[in-house]
Assembly symmetry: C2
Homo-oligomer: 146 residues x 2
């Protein structure tokens, strides 16, 4: 069993890095935004999805019961005055960054199959992170971790 640790299905660093940037945002007084590429496994308000993607404010003030687990990110938030339960698999997170300056980290989204959802043209990883590209200058830059 010990050998399984070195198998290709290693534990992902992504949830660890998401938590890291979340804490950096919070400690810095910034508002952490989460860019999510939706699919059938994401539970988000569909009416706010645009080009197959939704950007969620995951700050302490905007959420309730936020839990960034190793597999799932869960919280409750109000959208248009209505409380909604949000659930996002960690592997659907395209980026986490500070609203105020765009600094943060981007991740590659791997599509395992083509979906017939005209509103979700997200087959190309670049499309997922393009809107979140940080401004030039400053540090850290948004970096794609494969």
């Amino acid at each position: 069993m010990a050998e399984e640790r070195n198998e290709p299905h290693d534990r992902s660093t992504r949830p660890y890095l998401i938590r890291a940037i979340y804490e950096w945002c919070t400690d810095s007084g910034y508002t952490p935004y989460l860019a999510v590429v939706v699919n059938e496994h994401t539970r988000v308000p569909e009416e706010f999805v645009k080009d197959g993607q939704i950007v969620l404010n995951v700050s302490f003030d905007a959420t309730s019961g936020l839990k960034i687990g190793n597999e799932i990110i869960e919280f409750a938030a109000r959208f248009g005055g209505v409380a909604r339960e949000i659930s996002v698999p960690v592997d659907r997170v395209a980026a986490i960054y500070a609203r105020e300056n765009g600094h943060g980290m981007g991740f590659e989204i791997i599509e395992t199959r083509v979906e017939h959802r005209p509103e979700a043209k997200v087959d190309e990883p670049s499309a997922a992170t393009a809107p979140e590209r940080p401004k030039a200058g400053g540090k850290p830059k948004l970096t794609v971790v494969k």
Copy 2:
């Protein structure tokens, strides 16, 4: 004062990311290695410095009192049977990665001035991270966060 938060001297994400990869290593059963580019602010055993760099085993088992702060990483460890106090500024960390597979994260080292130390030819950032490049394939890859 609130405006200071957006000044160029923002809080660095580096200590947050170092802690993230450290936790990922530990949770995965890997041994976290820290690659450090030495200068006058690093307190490490000089006899183990090679090409201006030292690689430190920072696993729980190999260290005592490890503290990864936002400015300084401190711990005690045994080198050749002798206990030593180690202190490394976070901005001298070139990489943190798992010994077992080389996965982790690299960081750019910014040299603020040229030092006349023949044994520390670390002016080029590429020289700092080159020995720690991960193996091809797998994920996550070592990524330079500027």
